[in-house]
Assembly symmetry: C2
Homo-oligomer: 408 residues x 2
């Protein structure tokens, strides 16, 4: 176990944020993940980091606030917390998020309260989010089991200890941390993904047509769209891997170019609540109708966050045979579940998904077809019956996905 944790921490530091000598690292972590956070701190200093600071959170206190604080509290967001993030961008620090959140943390909290809090945070951190979505600095996300999260993923194991162990093992397997040499395994995995994105970029497709049970969707792509995968490059020219694990090859839709219907294939955990079996109808990019078996109100809250939350910001291709998919686990955590399935994101687009986008102003991004929003939420639509055609400007088609798998 100790060896696996060491390997996983090394992945986060060396492949994830790829910390550089003399660089600072800002960690965001729940206090329940402290043992792993300490391991990251150690590895970061050993890799040459100058200084490491941590912004801690605590699920219990987050919930206490939602239950007990007056309404006015949710209209504010602390300036020092914003400054921690914007300073990190200005001074080229790396940022690592260690996520462990209980998917049911906010069960029963009024949706308006969550919406208000999300809006306040999203607005306060909008400059930071813009910088992150332009890959200005190295950033990455890894996950650590909390008891509540492990209980959600493995409800049939008898003890909390067994549940946490099982989730650790699932994480080690999904992130390749259980291989002999995870760092070099990641290098070759990244190369495979980049071959797919190169193929798609070389063809400069005009649109995608996705078909699956409950889904018939056409997604037009911006003229300057770029497919990306796994490895990113920050403003200083350093590579990093924003998500561990990552199995996706993704780009942005043209904001006003989405039409048809899409149906979810995995539960979506949003703001501590679950949305199950939902569908969205699009006209000229905008969501004009939606249904949900459970979590309808939460979905409504998400979609009405701002003007941009009615549009899509990402389309990502993941084969149905991906390791996370074949594990047959639902992690109730986007970092994992998005890598089991073709998915879309409601909300803002990543500027690096446009050629030259990293240096564009917000106005230029909008003009190029990129959606802007204070939110960005992935939801899973892939399955074994998913077929995707990529269509060129001249109308010719290439089948890029057949029966849920890459066809190229």
């Amino acid at each position: 176990m100790e060896q696996l944790l060491e390997k996983y921490a090394a992945l986060a530091v060396n492949i994830g944020v790829n910390i550089q000598k003399g660089q600072n690292l800002l960690i965001r972590s729940s206090i329940s993940s402290a043992p792993f956070a300490r391991l990251i701190v150690k590895k970061a200093y050993e890799a040459g980091a100058k200084d490491v600071h941590i912004l801690w959170s605590d699920d219990d206190i987050t919930r206490l606030r939602y239950d007990l604080a007056p309404d006015e509290a949710f209209k504010e967001f602390p300036d020092y917390y914003v400054k921690a993030h914007t300073d990190a961008v200005e001074q080229n620090h790396a940022i690592l998020s260690i996520v462990s959140v209980d998917p049911d943390l906010l069960n029963g909290v009024p949706a308006e309260r969550i919406a208000e809090a999300t809006k306040a945070a999203g607005t306060a951190l909008s400059e930071f989010r813009h910088a992150l979505q332009a890959d200005q600095i190295s950033w990455s996300i890894v996950a650590v089991p909390s008891e509540a999260w492990a209980a959600k993923v493995f409800p049939n194991l008898e003890t909390s200890e067994k549940q946490v162990d099982a989730l650790w093992n699932a994480i080690f397997s999904a992130t390749r941390a259980d291989l002999d040499d995870p760092v070099s395994a990641w290098q070759s995995h990244i190369n495979n993904l980049v071959q797919k994105s190169d193929f798609l970029n070389n063809h400069k497709f005009h649109s995608l047509h996705l078909r699956a049970p409950g889904t018939d969707l056409t997604i037009e792509l911006p003229e300057k769209h770029l497919w990306c995968a796994a490895e990113s490059v920050n403003a200083a020219g350093t590579t990093f891997t924003a998500n561990i694990p990552t199995e996706e090859v993704f780009t942005m839709p043209l904001k006003t170019g989405v039409n048809g219907v899409v149906t979810s294939k995995k539960p979506l955990s949003y703001g501590g609540n679950l949305i199950n079996n939902f569908s969205l109808t699009f006209e000229n990019g905008a969501i004009t109708d939606f249904t949900a078996e459970t979590g309808y109100e939460t979905l409504e809250t998400l979609i009405t966050t701002d003007e941009g939350s009615k549009y899509l910001g990402e389309v990502a291709l993941v084969p149905h045979s991906s390791p996370i998919s074949t594990s047959n686990l639902t992690f109730y955590n986007t970092l994992f579940d998005e890598n089991a399935s073709v998915h879309l994101a409601i909300g803002s687009a990543y500027s690096f998904n446009l050629d030259g986008g990293k240096k564009m102003s917000r106005e230029e991004l909008v003009a190029a077809g990129a959606n802007q929003s204070i939110t960005h939420v992935d939801f899973m639509i892939g399955c074994a019956e998913m077929n995707i055609d990529a269509i060129k400007k001249d109308g010719s088609k290439i089948a890029i996905f057949q029966n849920g798998e890459w066809a190229i």
Copy 2:
């Protein structure tokens, strides 16, 4: 136990920071004290707080930094952390520190490294410290056992659990949290202390003469000195109690008016190291010589922090029969040990210890005789043989302490 914790948390919220309706609370806490911090958050919201934020720390990560970070790291201090404090002052938030630190945390760390870190933090937080020492906002300190701290205070108990329980009980007793109605017990305790400070203020003494084994010290007082006790008043006119427990009646020495020798009577825990059996020699306020049985280097680091760390900032009177003194425990924590004993502080003076001082500029404070420094460290000199005369301008004397006890 649960009831005692509830009472202790209520003391911190209602007597300590005395949170007001609609006010924000900033908590500083180690992650090991999370269960108690959560109780404080709950009590604060129940008392009408608008919002509660927490700046967490972790002893293990603090130590990792001292062991592994490069020298350059210790020259810096994060701006966001400073902003959290200065914003709290500007917006009239209350600040509660929950302390639990291992007295041996920094054992073996090179003294220069600790000095550099202390200087960086002291300099970065100097505006905040000035505001706090002028009682601009409500602030308070309470303590929670950590395993390492409990092991230091109760080394002879067999299990960590018993040590922590024993330290909790010692804390409940020292803070009166074990009484039926701690809040009203505190009100009458505060009144008793205020009677002593009123007596001393009415006499406008010129100087104090302290005698005990190893101690023969004259302390001149500034013309505008004010004796204070227990309860403070912030800039908005709200009372608060900065330390729980508190048994002291205290004022500031005239910076250049201290002469003679003083000998410590309790170990001093400074920056994670212990200084034992030390003496200081003063001439015209400045420390001109010092000895220490152990921790000489640490003491030297403290005294040479800056120009002001060679001078005193506080003289505090505590009877030898105080509850903490009769417990015969050494807590290795100033919050408790200072309340067992007459003590002095190396470093900056509190501006509220001058008549009108809260509104004075730094220059005016210096002109009135107040020492300025980035540090303020209490050390214990009281014992059963301590006699103190208070001397008026005309040379007449009143014995205010005899055999370690109040004589007034």
